[in-house]
Subunit: 401 residues, 2 copies
């Protein structure tokens, strides 16, 4: 299949280029390298050094014997997106080209408006270009489980049958996001749902949990014993672009306490390893939605509380002789610290998704890969403590106990 | 109270300035006069000629003995909105400053992205400026009943208690809008709901039905027998900025058939007269939401099918010796032509809202006012037939029977 990846230079995008190419698909990329500069503006780096774009492309060429077409454009530039789609006529478009950070969107008015405009208008540009130039392409859109928030009822996959005052309907499940970033993804989901209805486009909206891991087989040496540096994907640990799990591992690696937001740590989320995210995305790509169909996949493997996560990291750290302390910080966020959480995730299992890895084994690889860059992470350790408060306050979060 | 009206030059905004000033409130205005140019780009005019801004302001001064502060700025210009809010410190902010047209948003990619950006980013600029400069102001946001779409169950006011798989929660009611414009309003509603939660802002989100009418008492001569031209509000009839009811009356006035979209005409919506819209908005302003409260009012008086509406216009037209023919056009929209429709509208009634006018009496006034401008409407009669298809086709809609 011909697959166009938007955001092809990012953590997932770069990995998916390799993963799909190894399965014989023809891949095409779009990226404007903004993620690289956003992380710089957070005064941070990728904990694992990544190659620049030309070196990535030549490594891709050595491995797969072709260089993918690659456009350095903003998805929000409608005319350019039309040009790309007209030329490629992709079977599938995987849309990762958004600013993916809740804290970044909460910094100030300008950042909030930037994230909203970048994500919502970028996605509108894309779906209009699809309508005009490539209406049969299947859009795989990266959403997030965070769109749902934490309702006090089960979370279905996108839609639910309800009875209300004696009448019935199947309706979109109400979203209750918790940052401007998360709301931008909700707006995208709504816009794409409607584009499928009004124009007959086809889309799979992936409500993905937190992805973790530093490796997929396609990045590894022939014997599978180490990651080839030029093929590596990024791993962020700063407060904006790193996730709790990345941060915990980086903290353990440099002997910094693992920082749980709030005094309870029962915030619960879904998680899955990078390689299984690749598996799920490929299942969605290879089993496209029908014409006019908008379907939602909740994509995660297991749920963990943030405390459970920290304890798991602590356990794996001990295998490396690291005694990781768990400490509580006041939370900079506005979120429930204890809540019901029971999301469905049947759709991908029904398509044949088989979880291949457990968290401890993936964490072990992360420690192996990250311990090599202990000194670099230590140099940037200031990014491990949050300064971005949902309230807008400007200060450093304080320890609780 | 000090009340800042955003979109103060529009159909509702201009009327509300007069209505509130007459009740002793101190009013302030913001507008960049975009509505005037949008209607020009549709090759149309306001059926009732309206005064330019300076003349409106001097007429306001004659009537109320002060000239309101008025800023000609875009609500999306964050720094300027901060300046205005810092200076005014309004008790209430009424936000009409959006592009209010479904067809306009469906013209092409650029228009769709413009409407989305203008409305969503404009509203984000406003709520961030409120947070920074005037967090105690009560935001009255104009939404639309169109945000809900036409679900097969009753439509509550914003939120509903549901049971799902044996558990209960109160959740936002799912929205199913039918144009990019309507979706932009849904996104605004979601963003405002969240700003109230995260920052403790207070807001009333008005899901308004279709407003109709050419008069409020504050625009009338002393004896109440005619509208003073310089105090008049606009009345659009083009396919983008006119509503079905405005279009029907203008069609009847020039002897053009009343154009129902589709062969059935059972599309049903809520309606209310201009003067009662003013009454409702004033009730919301004078009974503010609590700190941190986001409340939703469904604001309409009666529901009509489009066919019922046309028949009512036809009946009133006959009082003026006009035999208005009702004809069916293929619908350019993507919408259900027959559907269940039962929205709640108790919140405003509970605050004391008393409907004062029935549709026939308001239509009678509309005929009196519009018959005076028969020649002008006739000159622009081409705008009465739709050319904007939800599918993106570019042609004129055809007669069905």
């Amino acid at each position: 299949m011909k697959i166009l990846i938007l955001g092809a230079d990012g953590y997932l995008g770069h990995s998916l280029m390799l993963y799909l190419a190894a399965r014989g698909h023809e891949v095409f990329g779009v990226d404007n390298f903004m993620r690289r500069s956003w992380v710089k503006t957070m005064n941070s780096i990728s904990a694992l050094p990544i190659a620049d774009h030309p070196h990535r492309m030549s490594a891709f060429h050595s491995k797969f014997e072709y260089t993918p077409y690659f456009w350095t454009i903003d998805v929000g530039e409608y005319d350019q997106m039309c040009h790309v789609l007209e030329m490629v006529q992709p079977d599938a478009i995987v849309h990762f080209a958004e600013c993916p950070s809740a804290p970044y969107s909460m910094i100030d008015a300008n950042k909030a408006m930037f994230v909203m405009r970048n994500n919502v208008i970028g996605t509108m540009s894309l779906i209009y270009a699809m309508k005009e130039k490539s209406p049969h392409s299947h859009l795989i859109k990266l959403g997030t489980m965070g769109e749902y928030g934490t309702p006090n009822i089960d979370i279905p996959e996108g839609f639910f049958d309800i009875e209300y005052r004696g009448r019935q309907d199947m309706l979109p499940f109400p979203k209750q996001a918790g940052s401007w970033y998360h709301w931008s993804k909700v707006h995208d989901s709504n816009n794409i749902m409607w584009a499928c209805k009004v124009w007959g486009l086809r889309s799979t909206d992936i409500m993905q949990g937190v992805v973790y891991g530093t490796r997929i087989p396609e990045m590894m040496s022939e014997r599978g014993d180490y990651v080839i540096p030029v093929l590596r994907t990024r791993l962020d640990f700063d407060e904006s672009f790193g996730t709790a799990i990345n941060r915990f591992v980086c903290q353990a690696v440099i002997g910094h306490p693992l920082t749980i937001f709030g005094d309870i740590g029962k915030q619960t989320r879904g998680f899955l390893p990078l390689v299984d995210s690749m598996q799920c995305l490929t299942l969605a790509i290879e089993n496209p939605a029908d014409e006019g169909e908008y379907r939602v996949f909740n994509q995660f493997e297991e749920t963990y509380s943030v405390l459970g996560l920290a304890q798991t990291v602590r356990r794996v750290a001990s295998d490396f002789g690291i005694d990781a302390e768990i400490k509580h910080l006041e939370t900079p966020r506005s979120e429930a610290q204890e809540h019901y959480y029971n999301p469905d995730h049947e759709h991908l299992l029904n398509l044949g998704y088989k979880p291949t890895r457990d968290m401890e084994s993936v964490l072990t690889e992360m420690f192996i890969d990250l311990l090599e860059y202990q000194a670099e992470i230590k140099e940037y350790k200031d990014v491990l403590i949050p300064h971005i408060f949902w309230s807008g306050e400007e200060r450093t979060a304080e320890w609780l106990k």
